[in-house]
Amino acid sequence: MEELIRKSYPVAQADYVSAGHASADIKRTLKQLGVGGDVLRRVAVASYEVELNLVIHSLGGELTLRVLPDQVELISADCGPGIPDISMAMREGFSTANDEARSLGFGAGMGLPNMKRNADTFDIQSTVGVGTTITMGFALPS
């Protein structure tokens, strides 16, 4: 399927100051395209969660928005450290957030489950020492 819009946002490790800027721009882009209602709400939640995940857990990475004729796609790709046990990481309440993140109110262990719940398709690939890639799809109403 032809990719119509592609925007990438670099996200730095532990950059709590800029956290939320990428997801805010993603929402703005979708609103300008006229994507609204339920799809926008779900992308808003998932994009914020995935952006914060990059800030809190990764060594840095990139969040990409792709808009295709029939769906919105969010791809988060980081350069480590990778997740040893994905099924454990997907459990509600499980978190490896550090004290700094917890002191800011994060680390409830709802990030990944929340993304999966809000996306129509959810894929996570991870290799320890290499990095994690999360791909989420949100179907656009025809």
Binding site: A24, K27, Q32, L33, G34, V35, A44, V67, L140
Partner: protein, 433 residues
Amino acid sequence: MEPIRYHSVRLDKEKCKGCTNCLRHCPTEAIRVRGGRAHILDTLCIDCGECIRICDYHAKIAITDVMDDVKKFKYAIALPAPTLYGQFRGLNNPEYVLEALKCIGFDDVFEVARGADVVTRAIRERLKEPRLPKPMISSACPTVVRLIQVRFPDLLDHVVDIRQPMEVAATIARDEFCRKHNCAPEDVGCFFITPCPAKMTAIRSPIGQDKSALDGAISMVELYGLLLPHVMRMLSDPNYVSPTGYGIGWATSSGEATAVCPENSLSVDGIDNVIRVLEEVENDKLSDLTFLEGNACIGGCVGGPLTFENNYVAKNTIRKMVDSMPKTHPDTDVPSSLMTKYPLKTNVPFKPNGAIKLDDNLAEAMRKMKHMNEILERLPGYDCGSCGSPTCRSFAEDIVRGYCTEMDCIHVLKHRLQHMAEEMVTLAQTTRE
């Protein structure tokens, strides 16, 4: 799509120098400078008045009614926003202001704070209903509702569907006056004494209602000088019906939330702060809250662009007045009969504004967005405003919408001229041989 037809906020063409100060301060990017002067885009303006505050040349103005408009009616009722009491330093009794309003030409007065009491009770009852989106967002500040219509349309189902205090107050005021004086509703003019242009706009182009119960609005700063000598006379009325302190508290930020939902609410003031919090609501990060009060102006309505007194001083005056009043709550103070006597719910749904969409057709919108992103890559990213658009991004958007061309960017133009000059030199050198 619901563009606003009427705006109180206007441009004084004579005074505008075409500087770009207002561009970056507009929360909806509704201003462009073209042909040496500013233009306010009707479809995006939410009448917040930020441009009125920022313009050094006083070229942004708010149109409101004047006392001559009041005289067109056989009878006129003044409906002062509680913010009016905060304009008079040391005032401890709203009655002096009410009597002063009668001295300057109104036949009767009805405090909007009493409307706020009724609305408080109505919202409290509404919040008890099951399956409401969280948090519910106050609809009292028309600028915040318009902001949601323009920038956060997916949050419109969070907006409380109860009418504004001024509307409820005007409905009751007119009805009571007509019964008492045995006159026709159309003989009575109801005028809101307003701290802001947004309320004036909300009367001419109502949100959530097909028709406003008010006939107009008069700016607080216009009336201040007329009222002051009469306020000093400290007249009072033996038949005075007082609102609660809670109703008067609506004049300041957190006043509404304190009355409506002290257990679990958040109050935000200042339009940029409201935007930040709405982003959080959109990210579903505030769903543990029951109620969100947003005020476009700093300090709440006391910070309105049409007020006279410093907003912090006004807030203090209001606070002292509220502290000295009995602590009765609208739940017990507002008679139950009143809750069914007058319409309190909105009768028109809050609709998305739609003006930020690049196109109604998704495929066409995507094509324009792609084009816009390509242009944006060629722009310097200074956001200098020299082109007349607030940012490089909005400039790129204006190009794809067909309002300007890339050469309107002086940096692109300079680059192009430099390139042409170099080509001419090359050409000249070539022809010499």
